[in-house]
Structure formats: structure tokens, C-alpha cells
Symmetry: C2
Subunit: 327 residues, 2 copies
DNA sequence: ACGTTTTGGGAAAACGTTAGCACACTTGTT
DNA sequence: AACAAGTGTGCTAACGTTTTCCCAAAACGT
């Protein structure tokens, strides 16, 4: 392995000068620069990141903590985060927490020891206090998908409420007379917001009744069950707003089994905009531009790391109605 | 930040002794141990991984290089790899290469500078020479999904050929009289092997003809197009073996559009066994136990890192027929 | 001609570990 | 009694950087 010392020797300068040049800090003469660059090229010198980290206190590594990369929402987020991180010279460490607080603590502990430069975190279970504590240890954090109002925590979320309203309005405009909602876990912020949007929009309607909402747990199987349940009580339902795309797919499966035609007899719309081209008819959805979300969040994280001034507050991304074949 | 020096002072021993105890190397008396452990606990000391890496030449970090985490095959692999890595005290770095040789080189360069302990790689483009070169730089490698016969490269793959045969046999036993194949890119080893299995099994059949094979590029859209193409030439096809689940889903979509009933009129089977519960009817498939694959590969990687004796050769995992609703 | 900046560069102290070496004290063996 | 092996411990040199300090020369203003 060739070190900075080798370069300095070959170039006939001190290691300090080489370091200064490579880090653009301090003054270096043109001659020295030329000699050093030549030496670097000749020796194919690459600075050792570890040593650099130890001396400089920055690792050029950031972590992405997600509940479960198997949930199709997260690969897209990860992809965006990784692209952006790589583009800015950062390395991305992946952590699956399963929303298990113990695992989360373990990972956080480990990441601190690794002197990770920042963490992008999506978690239903982590407390604002924990995040603030991390920040006080001067570890920048960006929270995904859940705002922490009242705390100095930077978060990037989608406009869940507006998206939900968009979905309902779309169903109504498409002629739906009775709309059901399949909701996710209420302790999950986005699920809660979307459910609230449904209630806000529909509570005043003559057909509205609480039993039009069923719990789908954000999963395909849950959406399937919820749809069956809803249909058992309300055969006349003609519109379904599912809190995410997975549940919408499950609902679609159920509807199909029930022999109802989509979108003639019943319309259905999901939320998220994950890639789901394997499902047919293709699901209408409210897209939250997951890639942009991940990219933006990583951008903010890195800007925090670089101490660029940033308001520590929630950044809400626009959502887009994406009507396809189920409405 | 509390350092090993703080601990040694509080415990009244030298740093060397603390290090020895914490690394279980060399002798440490019972009294010293007690004193040190007390100090560690009191100061809440956690060794600094960076310093440890610099001194010890190991980072406890491994990388997973995949073409694209968006392809549903890879999150499952990543999940398994990460689980196993975390369980063994390793951190997982994620790299998306898009099968772009330049990106691959960039990442490899970066990973070397980070002194990554090992790399688990799935790539269609990397050459065995590159891998061997890395190994000669004493970076352990495990290749996924593609064996490198004739090179001292450890790889973990699925029994693609056997799986393909299993799929065909299953279709035949289910009564299929004319089976088509939708294949992936021929330079992708697994796609090639599966296509070969189809040919091996079917070339002798009276109905066999090359136009029963269409190219689906391993994607949903590709599978869809391929199916349409096949049907245009062979309305009497009653069985389809798709080279992966995504193409199978695409084909299913096409079949649905063509108004054929599955599995009565035409049966279809995929390959991979990715989680696809959003598709209905649920796809029959040949499962390659992706989780096991990832876990096994990571296990081998770490065993290589620990210099545990391992044959550098291909490890082929069994596949399983998973008949569901499309056959 | 004389301060004061600006420019350029070297020596050496961190950064927090690990590991090789040396030394000392117990045991056990002949 | 002498010697080897085993046990316990501390010093200190790495590991490869960055980052103070500090010094010297050149450029500049008066």
C-alpha cells in the first residue's frame, strides 16, 4: 500500500504539503503541486480513508435505517439515498431494524462507534428524545416519513393529508357514491394522516359510517382481509381508498375474487407510488415520488454534515395523483 | 469521548492490558479483569472502531454489490446478507452498480480505500480476472448467482438447470402439450442456464420449435411483450416457463389481456421465488430460497475473512418447486 | 528602509487502537 | 538447584492521515 509518505518522498516535499494540496487547505506552490500530482499518479496513490477518518473525525459514511428493506417502499428510498450519497462521495450503510427498539439501539450504538457521519432514519418506534440525543452527540439526523413537530429535527415527508384528499376527490369525481378506507397502523404517522384525510373528506357525506374503514396493516394480506370485511358489511361500496399500494393490491385481489369488475363496479386507489407493474389492472395511486424523497433527504443529511445552514424543520414533499386502470 | 487510556487509568493498568482483555488476546489476571470491567462500565467505554481498524487492519465492514436494489430479488438477498452480517458483528455497505463496469470499478476502488473486509458481489459484467485481482489484494470475495469455473473464486448459486427441468416436468405432468419459454438476457448466467434447461427438456418433443422461446429481459414489461409475441405465433401454447418471476408476472398480465384462463387454458410458472403476493392468481414458481442464498454467501464471506479453511469453489443451493395457482 | 501581509512549507503532535518486545514472577520438571 | 514453560504486565512503535504551530521568504504599503 502506498502512503502519503511515499508520495511526499517522491515529490521531494513534506507530508504536510501533500496533505494540504489534496485537501485544498493552506498554500501550495505551483511547482510543488506539479511534483506532487506526478508522484500521486505514478504511485497510484489513494488516501487511506480509515487513517483520514481517525485524524479528521469524519468517515464519509452515512447510514440508512429502515424497518425492512423487503417492503418495496424502502428499496426505492435506498436506491435514491445511495445514488445521492455515492455522488457526493459518501458510502451508504444499510440497517434493517424491524421497528425493534432493541435493534435500533444496537445499530445506533454500533454506528456511533463507527463514527458514522450521519443517519437517515425511518422508524415508527424511535423517540424524538433519542434523535435529539444523537444530534447532541453531533450526529446529524434526517427523519423520513414522519415529522417531529416541536423538536429541532429535520424531517422529509410526503404531503400525506393532501394526498389522501386528492385520492378521495378523485374517487368522487370518478362517480363513486360510497367510499371505503383501508388503513395502516395508526401509530404510523403516514397511515394516520391518510386515514385522517379520509375522515375529513368523507365524514360529512350522507353515506359515511365508521364501519367503512377497516384495518389493513400496510400489507397485501391485510388489505385483502380488510376488503373482504368491508364488502361483507357494505355490498354497495363502489370506491376504496387504501392507505398504501400494498393494501390496495391486496384489496384488488379480494375484489377480483368477489367477482366485481374494476373499475366499472368498484374503483380503487392506493398511496405511495411504488413500482408495481406486475399487478393488473394497474393500480391508480397517489405517488409520493419516493426517489425524490430519498434524494432530498440524503441531500439534507449531507448538508447538515457539511454544516451548511439548514432550518431544522419538516420539509414536506408534494404528492401527485397518478390515475391508472383501477379508477 | 472516552478512550482506552481513560479506562486504563481508572483501572490502574496499562492500555495494553485493557486491549488484551477486550480482545481476548494474551494473559490478564482476574484482578485486572475485574478492575478493567468496572472501569469500562463506569465510563461506558466503547472501543473506537476507526482506530481499531487503522491499527488492526480490519474494518468489520463488508459490502454488497448488486446491480439494482430495485429488482425485488435483491432486497431479499440484502436482507439476508445484512441479518447475517449484523449477527456476526459486521456492518453492511450497499452498492448499486447498474451493471455498469465504470461504477463497479469506482466502488471497488472506494471499498479498497475503506479497507473493506470483504465483498459479496452479484454482477453480470465483472470479469473473473478482476475478482482474482481483488483476492490477491487479500480482499475476500463471494460471487452470487454466477459460478466462475476454473477460477479460485467462491460462489453461491442456485441449481438453475435442475430448477428449469423441475419447472418443465411440472408443466408436463400438469398436462401441458406445448410449452413456451420466456428467457432473460443470455449473458446472465442464471437466465442462460434456465433457458438451457428448457431446451434440454423440450428439444426432443414433437411440438418443439425455436419460436417458442422469446426474450423477456428479466423484466415485467419484457415478459409481457414476450408473451404477446409467443401467442401471436402459437395460439395453442398451453404452458409457459418464464426465466424469472417478474417475466412470469408480465406474461400473466398478457395472458389475462388475451382473455385466456389460468391455469385451465394455459399454465405458467416462474423462477426465483420472490415475494409477490400482490399478484393473482398467485404464481407458481421454482423457488431458489433467496434468503438462504444470501445468508450462506455472507457466512462464507465472513468465514473467508476469518481465514477459516474453505474450498474456493461453487456452492450450489437446492431449489424447490413451489406450485401455486397458475399451474 | 521598515513594518505588515500574503504565500509557502516543514516538524511533530495528535487521532485511539493493536501488537511486538522485554521483563518479572510462578510453577513444574529433572 | 537449575532450567524451562507458563502467566502477567507495561513500553512503545506502528497504522496513515490531518492539523496545529512555527519559520522563511516574497510582496506590499508607507
Amino acid at each position: 500500500m502506498t502512503t502519503i509518505r511515499d508520495v511526499s518522498k517522491l515529490a521531494g516535499v513534506s507530508v504536510a504539503t501533500v496533505s494540504r494540496l489534496l485537501n485544498q487547505s493552506g498554500y501550495v506552490s505551483k511547482e510543488a503541486e506539479v511534483a506532487i500530482m506526478a508522484a500521486v499518479k505514478k504511485l497510484n496513490y489513494k488516501p487511506n480513508t480509515i487513517a483520514r477518518s481517525l485524524a479528521g473525525k469524519k468517515t464519509s459514511a452515512v447510514a440508512l435505517m429502515v424497518p425492512d428493506i423487503l417492503n418495496p417502499f424502502f428499496p426505492e428510498l435506498a436506491r435514491a439515498a445511495e445514488d445521492e450519497a455515492a455522488a457526493r462521495g459518501y458510502t451508504l450503510v444499510l440497517c434493517n431494524t424491524d421497528n425493534n427498539p432493541d435493534k435500533e439501539k444496537m445499530y445506533i450504538e454500533a454506528l456511533i462507534n463507527k463514527q458514522i457521519d450521519g443517519i437517515m432514519i425511518s422508524s415508527y418506534t424511535i423517540s424524538p428524545g433519542q434523535i435529539v440525543a444523537l444530534q447532541e452527540r453531533s450526529i446529524p439526523i434526517v427523519a423520513i416519513d414522519k415529522p417531529y413537530d416541536g423538536y429541532p429535527i429535520l424531517s422529509v415527508t410526503a404531503a400525506n393529508r393532501e394526498g389522501g384528499k386528492l385520492a378521495i376527490r378523485h374517487l368522487l369525481e370518478s362517480g363513486c357514491q360510497k367510499i371505503a378506507h383501508i388503513c395502516g397502523p395508526s401509530h404510523v404517522h403516514s397511515a394516520y394522516e391518510r386515514a385522517l384525510a379520509y375522515e375529513d373528506s368523507c365524514a360529512g357525506m350522507p353515506w359515511y359510517t365508521p364501519s367503512l374503514t377497516a384495518f389493513g396493516g400496510f400489507s397485501v394480506a391485510g388489505g385483502y382481509k380488510a376488503m373482504k370485511e368491508i364488502y361483507r358489511m357494505h355490498q354497495d361500496v363502489d370506491g376504496v381508498f387504501a392507505g398504501n399500494d400494498l393494501m390496495a393490491a391486496g384489496a384488488l385481489k379480494a375484489i377480483h375474487e368477489l367477482g366485481l369488475s374494476v373499475p366499472d363496479k368498484i374503483k380503487i386507489i392506493g398511496f405511495d407510488g411504488i413500482v408495481m407493474d406486475m399487478v393488473f389492472p394497474e393500480l391508480s395511486t397517489v405517488s409520493q415520488q419516493i426517489y425524490t424523497l430519498g434524494k432530498t433527504a440524503m441531500d439534507y443529511l449531507i448538508r447538515q454534515i457539511h454544516d451548511e445552514p439548514i432550518e431544522r424543520k419538516n420539509y414536506e414533499l408534494e404528492v401527485r395523483l397518478l390515475p391508472k386502470s383501477t379508477t
